[in-house]
């Protein structure tokens, strides 16, 4: 298993953070919201320059870790582009990206993009996306699907895991913004950070963010190794990511106060654009139900499961 990403992947993530900032930073999502058809023009060139589409996360570990770091950086800036979904493209289909959808609700944040997409349901049925409806909030659109095959089981785990890295980047940023805010904002003659009730709320959120960080790395390893239980691990990660997002956004909004709901603060944008990641393809309860049903009696692989993690 891995405890940390490689230094190369971490450096790639830092480069991406700087590149997204130089390309417009927080302004990117604001501009894309006004005109979703500008998403490619706003973000495509910087991703291409970073070499994002040269990554082969399904083929080699270095690429996989770099892809995860890139998604995290994209989340940090709420980048208005489906980076994780493009990086999840299956190796055997001639498409630009893959989205995982619920079988009865084919929705994804693809509005305004002119790309070739595949969609897979959690049971592995693959489809070609033949059309997208006009965009709703946060670039969400309904997909028109044409069935392809049932070979997508192996594709789904990575396509669930990389968006969790995007969400993790959003949580990184929400925490960073909130820590800055409580250190600056004065009430009753002292910064908010001087109040223990504020400090303790921050620790609740930080435990969730740090724990998700570790689970995300573990699951990346599990998927990269092609382990039998990779889909269980991906669902466990998604469940933990959604729980962490609930806590982190609840705390960070509370500590920002009313200003956190205003579009003059970045938190308002981050929070809003985290919503599709959290509800698609399945929300928290449905993710937990599916995980529970898959775990049946054998549980998660670990120290005492039916099958233990073997020495690596």
């Amino acid at each position: 298993m891995i405890i940390d990403l490689s230094e190369e992947a971490a450096e790639f993530g830092r480069q991406a953070l700087r590149a997204f900032e130089a390309a417009g930073g927080d302004g990117l999502v604001q501009r894309a919201e006004v005109d979703p058809s500008s998403r490619e023009a706003l973000v495509g060139p910087v991703l291409a320059e970073l070499g994002a589409w040269d990554l082969e996360p399904r083929a080699d570990t270095d690429s996989l870790e770099a892809a995860a770091a890139l998604c995290r950086s994209a989340g940090y800036w709420a980048l208005p582009y489906p980076v994780a979904e493009r990086l999840s493209r299956p190796g055997d289909l001639d498409v630009d990206g893959l989205v995982v959808v619920a079988s009865d609700r084919p929705l994804a944040t693809l509005a305004g993009l002119d790309l070739r997409w595949a969609a897979a349901t959690l049971d592995g049925r693959r489809h070609r996306v033949t059309g997208t409806s006009a965009g709703g909030p946060a670039f969400r659109s309904r997909l028109e699907l044409s069935p392809l095959d049932t070979d997508g089981v192996a594709d789904v785990a990575l396509a669930l895991v990389l968006p969790c890295w995007t969400l993790l980047g959003m949580l990184d940023r929400a925490m960073e913004l909130t820590i800055s805010h409580v250190r600056l904002r004065q009430q009753f003659g002292q910064p908010l950070s001087a109040f223990q009730s504020v400090q303790f709320q921050l620790t609740d959120a930080e435990v969730e963010r740090t724990g998700l960080d570790m689970l995300a790395k573990y699951t990346l390893w599990s998927v990269g190794e092609g382990r039998d239980e990779a889909l269980d691990d991906a669902l466990a990660l998604r469940m933990a990511a959604l729980e962490a997002a609930e806590v982190v956004f609840r705390v960070t909004h509370q500590l920002h106060g009313a200003v956190g709901f205003c579009d003059e603060t970045t938190l308002s944008w981050l929070s809003r654009y985290s919503q599709p990641l959290r509800r698609l393809p399945l929300g928290l309860s449905a993710t937990r139900d599916l995980l529970t049903s898959r775990l049946d009696r054998h549980g998660l692989v670990g120290l005492y499961g039916a099958e233990r993690e073997v020495a690596q």
Binding site: I3, T203, G211, A236, M239, E243, R288, T292, Y304
Partner: protein, 379 residues
């Protein structure tokens, strides 16, 4: 984990299976046979060179890797710590003596610890000094070529059976309360020491009061420099930074639940099985946070604040998993078989013990203070 660490895990499980009864719930029950089991198990580990394997070879250890030490912590805690109180001697009393003890102190104390023959207790907490440890009042005053110690300690685990106490006392009053504290190594057999057990839901021997009434000790009983005890306390805390592998017992019990319930498992409310799956995920999360800490420890970079998020996550896991397990065992039929009965007893013990997890060895509030300080520090 290396292949060596995995092999060690299997070896420890085999030893537990062969030498520890299935219904063992720790050494400190009302049944003296449990203490005897732990003592025999420690001798067994010592004979195989496995009791102090983390110690450096010059002190009789194997110099094992931090990952092997992690495996030992996990397997022992998962199986109700069949080393009894020896984990304290092995994990921090011995290593602290290696760093700060005189050659004479090392000769006196390290071999019995390495053989698993001696029990130590920790004389830190006092009625008025819990989380605020440096406010302690037990005093050691100069008396000729030695010291006289007076005061009271509380919550002192294993004091009724310990032969030695690792005692923190005030030797000088200064401006800063962390200054002027000194560590003494004192024999519990001295008649100037009185131990009074405190009845508790954790079981006998866990909580005691210890009274020092004009205890006379010599200069040779001082560990390290006089008035410099606080820096030794920091070392003790550093040795125990990762602490108890609580997640290992949580995971073992959660994974045992379906077989303990048999056919009844599939009839459990879906919501309860969902909480079970959630707790298994939280076990993994806590374990990974522990491993991050172990990796930092291995590189010598670990700081007190690094442990705080893990400590918060693992103590919450302890309590939440115990709550889920209590609901699960409530579904076991009254006429259950012996395996199910043992499982119920394990879960009930786990629940009682978990209530203390956010209090003992540094309360969760102290961990939150540490973590928030680190988050809010100027970047």
């Amino acid at each position: 984990m290396s292949r060596e660490a995995t092999a060690l895990r299997h070896e420890l499980r085999d030893l537990v299976k062969a030498h520890v009864p299935d219904d063992f719930l720790g050494a400190f029950t009302a049944d003296p046979a449990d203490l005897a089991t732990a003592q025999a198990f420690c001798r067994l580990l010592a004979d195989r060179g496995m009791l102090c394997m983390s110690w450096p070879p010059e002190f009789g250890g194997r110099g094992s890797s931090v990952w092997e030490q992690t495996v030992v912590r996990e397997e022992m805690w998962a199986h109700h710590e069949p080393r009894g109180a020896q984990y304290m001697g092995v994990n921090w009393v011995g290593p602290t003596l290696m760093r700060h003890g005189t050659p004479e102190q090392q000769r006196t104390h390290l071999p019995p610890i390495a053989r698993g023959e001696v029990i130590w207790c920790q004389g830190f907490s006092e009625p008025e000094a819990g989380s605020d440890l440096a406010s302690l009042r037990t005093s050691a005053t100069r008396d000729g070529d030695g010291w006289r110690i007076n005061g009271q300690k509380i919550w002192t685990s294993y004091a009724t059976m310990a032969q030695w106490c690792f005692l923190l006392a005030r030797t000088t009053r200064g401006e800063k309360k962390q200054h002027g504290l000194t560590i003494f190594l004192v024999p519990m057999s001295d008649p100037a020491i009185t131990v009074r057990p405190i009845g508790a839901m954790l079981g006998p021997h866990h909580l005691n009061e210890v009274f020092f009434d004009d205890l006379r000790v010599t200069e040779a009983d001082v560990l390290g420099a006089v008035d410099d005890g606080w820096s030794i306390v920091q070392d003790v805390l550093a040795f125990e930074r990762v602490g108890i592998a609580r997640y290992a017992r949580c995971e073992r019990l959660l994974q045992l639940a379906p077989s303990a319930l048999g056919e009844r498992w599939s009839e459990l409310p879906a919501e309860l099985r969902g909480r079970w799956a959630r707790m298994l995920t939280h076990c993994r999360r806590a374990r990974l946070l522990a491993y991050r800490l172990v990796a930092l420890q291995a590189s010598g970079q670990v700081k007190p604040t690094d442990a705080a998020a893990y400590r918060i996550a693992v103590t919450r896991l302890d309590q939440e998993s115990a709550e889920v397990l209590m609901e699960i065992v409530a579904e076991i039929p009254a006429a259950a078989d012996d395996t199910a009965e043992v499982f119920v007893a394990e879960v009930e013990d786990h629940w009682r013990y978990s209530q203390a997890s956010t209090v003992s060895s540094g309360s969760i509030e102290m961990q939150r203070i540490l973590l928030s300080r680190s988050l809010l520090a100027a970047r």
